[in-house]
């Protein structure tokens, strides 16, 4: 046995206590979407908002439940959680994780984190239709990868938001990737890579989201007398 063999054996012992399987990338993506959801909420609060968490029946919850892969906002399979965001003088917004949204072409797309008006969300729930991208405010495309971000992720994001047409689309990833940053910048898309806990990039991303919420309030909030 070499030292590496011993270290790998010890590492195996250390991680065997983990109650979650590593056999798919989907678990990593799910957790990262939950993290991005939190960053959006923190930015919203920094912009003067107030958040409450609700399930489909409107009950307040302290254990949040999101989808493992994108589904319909009106789904009743589980009491999925969403955030209700209040800004003074503005109509309430809702925050959802992993929902499908209708593009301008009529095609359904997936949004990892979506912010839309409560009116549009209510329409989706009451009529069992996907919310419209053009009536949504913000979407976050979240990418958690172990070693490498492929350029097709950026191409997909650019194409997706050409069709969705919502006001504030953001691309966030845990890794830096210069060619992705160059591609998205060239196409005038908002991005922040290297977004992980305690990184300055997480702070920059929150700043971008806060700016979007500020603009939303300045346009939709009641004017002072």
């Amino acid at each position: 046995m070499t030292k590496i063999d011993d270290l790998l054996a010890d590492l195996g012992d250390a991680i065997n206590g983990r109650e979650v399987s590593y056999n798919s990338a989907s678990a990593a993506s799910d957790i990262y979407e939950g993290y991005a959801f939190g960053l959006v909420i923190r930015a919203a609060v920094a912009a003067g908002g107030f958040i409450v968490y609700r399930d489909r029946k409107g009950n307040a919850v302290d254990r949040l439940l999101f989808r493992t892969s994108p589904g319909m906002l009106y789904s009743t399979a589980h009491p999925y959680t969403y955030g209700v965001l209040y800004f003074p003088g503005c109509d309430p917004l809702e925050l959802h994780v992993g929902v499908r949204v209708q593009g301008k072409s009529g095609v359904l797309h997936e949004c990892d984190v979506l912010v839309l008006s409560m009116n549009e969300a209510n329409l989706s729930r009451s009529r069992s239709v996907a919310p419209r991208g053009t009536r949504s405010l913000m979407a976050i495309e979240c990418k958690y990868y172990a070693s490498y971000l492929s350029l097709y992720l950026a191409r997909g994001f650019h194409g997706l938001h050409s069709d969705l047409g919502l006001k504030y689309p953001f691309f966030v990833a845990n890794l830096r990737a210069q060619r992705i940053e160059r591609y998205l910048t060239y196409h005038n898309r908002n991005w922040e890579n290297g977004v992980i806990p305690h990184s300055r990039h997480a702070v920059y991303f929150e700043g971008q989201v806060r700016e979007a919420f500020k603009k939303y309030q300045s346009i939709h909030g009641a004017l002072a007398p």
């Binding site: 991680i15 979650v20 056999n23 799910d30 909420i41 493992t68 992980i196």
Partner: protein, 179 residues
């Protein structure tokens, strides 16, 4: 060394990590080259001036004019490939736990207490009063209709002791591969 790490990853269900690493290895490392075009005896030639700064140009008596950036790639060395694999393992076995922990912490952090009165209500406007949100303990993920992806929860990942042990071992492995 690389083979041992790959066997470990594969044995612990991380084939998807190996696939990602393999894709990165197949693409190699991006490299920008700066070439300067000039004409000699009617022939167009390109000189590699990568890394030369303005001072170096001035000293050499050549002009920066006519230089252009080109994108290229080079293969990864064996060491770079092993380092990439160890880093990828760390992102899955250590960093992800930290992200799960932070995801829950953030949700309890942003409540601005100044926006709430002493009764635990939020005051947005004069006539709108909301109940304060209860603390969030956990985030779970469950498959929607038609989905087969496995359920997961932040509670299963949030274990600082386990994470720090895994981080320590991966750091030792990192040192071994460099020695």
């Amino acid at each position: 060394m690389q083979q041992k790490l790959r066997l470990f990853a594969s044995a612990h269900g991380m084939q998807w990590v190996l696939d990602e690493v393999d894709e990165a290895v197949s693409l190699g490392i991006s490299e920008a080259r700066t070439l300067r075009q000039s004409t000699r005896q009617g022939q167009i030639t390109y000189e590699d001036v990568t890394g030369l700064d303005d001072l170096a140009f001035a000293k050499s008596g050549r002009a920066r004019k006519g230089t252009e950036e080109f994108a290229g790639r080079r293969p990864m060395t064996d060491l770079e490939q092993v380092e990439l694999l160890v880093t990828a393992l760390r992102r899955v076995l250590v960093d992800l736990d930290g992200i799960a922990d932070e995801a829950v912490s953030i949700l309890n952090d942003p409540v601005d207490r100044e926006q709430q009165d002493s009764l635990g209500h939020a005051k947005l406007d004069e006539d709108i009063v909301l109940p304060a949100s209860p603390p969030v303990y956990e985030i779970s993920f469950a498959p929607d209709e038609g989905s087969t992806s496995p359920p997961i929860s932040t509670g299963a990942l949030r274990n600082p002791e386990r994470s720090s042990r895994a981080a320590e071992l991966l750091a030792q492995i990192d040192r071994e591969i460099r020695s």
